[in-house]
Each structure stands twice: as C-alpha cells, then as structure tokens.
C-alpha cells in the first residue's frame, strides 16, 4: 500500500501531466483574464449591471466603430480567402515545381510578418516618402498622393490582404490536395467535363473549407490592433483602436474598454465555433488522403 500509492500518483501524473500543465497554463493566460474582463465590465459603482453595454451599444460613435471594424474585416476576409483559393488551386494543379517552392517560401514569410513591422514596411514602401511613391513619381510621373493614403481604410485593407492571403493559401492547400487526381480522372472517364467535375464535386467539397478560411481571416482582421495603430496613428474608428484609446491619457475608462473587449471576444468566439463546425464537415473528405 505504502509503496503503491506514490506509484499510482506517478502513473496518474504521467497520464494527465502534460495535459494538466496545459490546462493550468490555459486557465492562467486565457480563462482567468477573460473572466476578469467580464467581471470588471459588469461591476459598476451601483452594483452588478449591464449599463456599460447599453452605453456602448447606444452610442453612435462606437456603433460606427463596430460597423467600420465589421466592414473592413468582411471585405478583407472576402478578398484574402478568394485570392488564397486561387493561389491554392493553381498551386495544386498548374504551377511548375520551381514556382511552387517560391510561392511556399514567400507565403511562409508573409504570414509570419505581421504587426508593427508590417505596417512600417508598407510606410517605407507606400508612405508619403515611400520607395514606391517616389519611384512612381520620379520615373512615370504618377502621384499616389493625395488620391491614396496608406493611413486610411484603403491602406489598411491593402496591408491586411497582403498579410492574410498567404495565410489563407497555406490553410487551404491541404483541402485542394484532398481533391484527388483519381476523382478527376474517374469523372473524365465517365464522360464529365472538367467544369462539370468542379461544379458538382470539387466546389461542394471545398466550399466548407473556403467558408472556414473566410471566417478565420475575418476574425484575424477584426482583432488586429498594432498594425492598424502603427499604420493610421488612430485616424480611423476601429473598435480595437477605441479600446486602446480608453486606456490612453485623456479618456481613461478601462471598464468601458473591458465592455468593448467582451463584445469583441463574443464575436471572435462565434467565428471559432463556426470554423470548428465547418472544418469538421471538410475533414470527412480529407480523412483518407
């Protein structure tokens, strides 16, 4: 007995150890801060209440912020996932091997270059004194400014798409690989045309993956703070920026920021739930590949 007890503990630690450590880590870094945010957003001077949420959701200024955030993210997600799908399609079926290597290398780089450094790269390229701005002006007499401004919604859209297209491409690639060459050959042998194959088999199989990547890129764009802040210095009304300003020097209201943050968490959580459901549907087709 005295010997077996520590042994049992050792065995059960081996069984749950790594997972247990992971859960403790998640509790400390994800669950606890979220719980604190929620608590602090409803903890008003007059007791528990939702008045901060009514403040935010009835204020035209924050509603505009939400509309801008949704609009920018939806547009970005649509562009990035469509471009990502085209890239993945051509990668899987048409590209020569050398271009494939180049595309993969570039995509890995671009997906991992984000945040402030990405914003500064674009300022160096297309800012008022950017290389492209000056090059176009000096060589071709084309003036980017004032028609275009990197510190605007159009600029943000461009930068987000640059960052998220390779991301969408890399995530979509396995799905395209799941459309096996044998399926196409079988369909062709039975008299179908290529476009018929895609319409009746290819696209229906890929559709959930496409929706999933759309949701994922939406959530990614929706939650971006540092790129947007560095690029526009706060000139656009996006909810992540408003959360930052509520921690700033003038309007110091961290509880209102907490309420905005909880609303963002709800939005992105819904995205994750939808993504999970959709990727389960896709995985049925990809299991045996």
């Amino acid at each position: 007995m005295g010997v077996s007890a520590p042994h049992a503990i050792g065995a059960s630690f081996r069984a749950v150890g790594p997972a247990g450590a992971f859960f403790i880590y998640m509790a400390a870094t994800l669950v606890a801060p979220t719980a604190y945010l929620i608590w602090s957003s409803v903890n008003t001077p007059a007791g528990l209440g939702l008045e901060r949420y009514t403040t935010v959701l009835t204020d035209p200024f924050y509603l505009r912020g939400f509309r801008n955030s949704f609009g920018l993210s939806l547009l970005t997600a649509l562009e990035a996932s469509a471009a990502g799908a085209l890239l993945a399609g051509s990668f899987a079926y048409t590209l020569p091997i050398r271009s494939k290597r180049l595309l993969l290398a570039f995509s890995n780089l671009a997906t991992n270059l984000g945040g402030v450094s990405l914003a500064f790269a674009f300022i160096a390229l297309m800012g008022t004194n950017g290389m492209l701005t000056i090059g176009l002006r000096e060589l071709f007499g084309i003036n980017l400014y004032p028609g275009f401004d990197v510190a605007s919604f159009a600029g943000l859209n461009l930068v987000y798409v640059y960052h998220l297209t390779p991301f969408a491409f890399l995530i979509l690639l396995p799905a395209f690989r799941g459309i096996r060459q044998q399926w196409i050959e079988a369909a062709l042998t039975l008299g179908a045309t290529r476009s018929q194959f895609w319409r009746h088999v290819g696209v229906p199989v890929l559709w959930p993956s496409f929706l999933a990547i759309f949701i994922l890129t939406f959530a990614n764009a929706f939650g971006t703070y540092s790129t947007a802040m560095a690029l526009t210095v706060g000139r656009v009304n996006l909810i992540p920026l408003q959360i930052g300003f509520l921690f700033g020097e003038a309007a110091f209201d961290t509880e209102l920021a907490d309420a905005l943050a909880v609303l963002m968490i709800i939005t992105t959580s819904l995205c994750i739930v939808a993504y999970r459901a959709l990727s389960r549907r896709t995985s049925i087709w990809l299991q045996n590949t």
């Binding site: 200024f61 505009r64 912020g65 300022i123 800012g127 008022t128 004194n129 400014y145 004032p146 401004d149 510190a151 526009t232 210095v233 706060g234 000139r235 656009v236 009304n237 930052g244 300003f245 921690f247 700033g248 020097e249 003038a250 309007a251 110091f252 209201d253 961290t254």
Partner: protein, 353 residues
C-alpha cells in the same frame, strides 16, 4: 484567556501610540531615509527635464539608488492604485491636469514640501497632494532643410504650404497631445472652460490636410518624416542639440500666444520608501533642485514665481523667457473635468469619425 486579553490590550495600546507617530510620519526622517536606500519613480525618465542629473545629485546626498519606469499620467494613477497592497513606486511626475484625478482616486500622500510656500497657488493642490515643479512652453520644432518658410504662429500652420507637414501627438493617448490641444485652444481664443475654438481650429487644420499621420518622435524628425512637430520646448531643444550637424531644427515660440503647462510631483500614498520620497519633494523645490531643471531646458516654477533667479551665466540658455502675459491653465479642476470631452470630441469633431 487572560493571556489573550493581555495581548489585545498591548496591541490596542500600541495602536494608540502608533497613531500620533503615523501623523508625524508626514515629516521625513533623514535617519530612516538612509536605511531605505532606494527610491522608485514613474514617469521621471533620464531624458526629460534633466531628471537624470537630478536623481544623481539627490541619490549622492542620501546614498540611495534610483529606478524609473516611464509611463503616462493615467497609467501612473492606475498603477499606484492597482499596486496598493504591494506598492513599488514612491513618486511620479504627473501632468497637472491629472492632479485632481489622482486626488479623486485617492492615490496620493498629502505632503507640503519645504519649498511649498514659494510655489504659486495655481500650481499646487491646496492640501499638498501634488505640486508644480517646472513649466514647459509649447513650441514648433521646424526642420529648416525641408520647410523654407518657417511658420511663426498657430494661424500660419493653416496655410496650404504646410500640407502634410505638421506632426502632433494624439491628445487621446499622450500628455503632450493634450498640452498641444490646449495650446492651440488658447491661441484660438478659448480656455480650459471653453474648448470650442480649439476643436474648430484643429478640425480646420486636419481638413486642410496639414496634419501628417506619423508618430511624433526623434526618429521621424531625424528621417525628415516630421517636418514640423509641436511639443514642449524642453524636448524640442534636446532634439535640436542631439541632431546638430544632421538636421537643422529651429524651435519657434508661436507669436499668437505663448502657452505653458506645468509638470507636477505626486507622492504615492503607499510609498515603500516614504522618507526618501518626501526628502525628494523637498529637494526638487530647493534652489539647487530647481536650477537643475533649467539645465534640462525646463523653466523652474520658482523662477516663474519670481522668488528664484536664474544665474546670468546659466548653460544651456532657455529657449524663451516667459512674459507675464503668457497663457496658462488656472483652474485645474475645470480642465480635468473636460479631459474626457477632449478624447471623444477629438475623434468626432476633428477626425470626423
């Protein structure tokens, strides 16, 4: 049981004795200060207002070490409050507009330093929760290699020739941004109780396309990305000196209204080194401490009040002298109430969001 009662009686007696001792802890004890050995500050960094030398001289006197973490006034108040059970910092420099907020939040220790009486009334809290140390004048730092026709006034900045050239700090995130906004407001005929002219002026400046969307910092000035920056003279002068030989910077005091804002000191209510903190407050209001600010291009508050004279041979020379008709905020309570307005209305009325 009886033993317990005796313990309680001793504790109560101790508390009763402790009370007057606590009240007396208001005054710093130099002996105790020597055992504290360390002083920690927020928002008093080496490269601002000559804090570096001030800390060096102070710590040489009281054989202490010093640490600073730079942050905004709002963060200072939030940190004092959040850390009250495990306090880290003793003092902080605070924008005076935040003084009343700090008092409302209850994070300050009331202490009237030995130079207290020599600070003008408008620049201190009546109970000693915060006290002004120096003032900075809002100026334009103009890169004359890029801007040939140097702007001389706030009105000049509206001209089309300064398209995409004026760089300011965001009043929503920065103390200098708030000061810039107030400076423009006073120049446009407003004051701390009437911000209307300020919003009109900056909306006009923004719509004209003259405000450039880059960060206001030394790197951007050096790269030529920020042709005209607006900020305190004490910072502009340091930038000018540091960029000597690389970027020709002219520091301009706007002709349509010299406006200044004070920097103030507050002591953490829960300061872990309370004696050093109070001795430090005494030191920065002493003749010696005050003149050290001037070496960092700041204008010592007692020079402004007229009870301390700058030596004729002071180096470096200040950017400007402050005339009696200079504009400044007199009612900090009113200004502090309007802070939230500034943030919101800046987004809506200036940036049109």
């Amino acid at each position: 049981m009886r033993g317990n009662k005796r313990t309680i009686a001793i504790l109560v007696a101790g508390l009763a004795l402790g009370l007057p001792l606590n009240a007396k802890a208001q005054q710093p004890d130099p002996e105790k200060a020597r055992t504290e050995r360390k002083i920690v500050s927020y928002g008093q960094p080496d490269d601002w207002a000559n804090w570096k030398e001030i800390w060096q001289v102070f710590c040489a006197k009281y054989s202490c070490t010093h640490e600073d973490t730079d942050m905004t006034s709002a963060e200072e108040i939030a940190k004092f409050k959040a850390e009250r059970n495990n306090p880290a910092a003793d003092t902080a420099e605070i924008g005076m507009i935040w003084g009343p907020v700090a008092v409302r939040e209850g994070v300050t220790a009331a202490y009237k330093a030995s130079g207290w009486d020599k600070v003008p009334d408008w620049a201190k809290d009546a109970d000693g929760n915060w006290v002004g140390l120096y003032v900075g004048v809002l100026t334009f730092a103009v890169n004359t290699a890029i801007v040939k026709n140097v702007p001389r006034s706030w009105a000049d900045l509206l001209k089309p020739e300064y398209q995409n050239s004026v760089v300011i700090s965001d009043p929503r995130t920065s103390g200098t941004g708030v000061a810039t906004f107030l400076s423009g407001t006073f120049a446009a005929g407003g004051d701390e109780k009437n911000l209307e002219p300020g919003f009109k002026y900056f909306a006009q400046l923004y719509k004209a396309g003259n405000l450039k969307a880059v960060g206001r910092n030394l790197a951007n000035v050096q790269r030529g990305e920020a042709p005209i920056t607006i900020g305190y003279d004490l910072q502009a002068a340091v930038w000018r000196d540091r960029l000597k030989g690389q970027v020709p910077l002219e520091v301009v005091v706007p002709s349509d209204g010299l406006f200044f804002m004070p920097g103030a000191l507050m002591i953490n209510k829960w300061a872990p080194h309370p004696n050093l903190a109070r001795l430090f407050a005494d030191f920065v209001l002493s003749d010696e401490g005050q003149l050290l600010f001037a070496k960092g291009y700041a204008h010592p508050i007692r020079v402004l009040a007229g009870n301390l004279k700058l030596p004729a041979d002071i180096e470096p020379k200040p950017i400007t002298t402050i005339p009696p008709e200079a504009k400044y905020v007199r009612d900090w309570n009113a200004a502090s109430v309007l802070l939230r307005d500034i943030a919101r209305r800046w987004a809506q009325e200036v940036l049109g969001q």
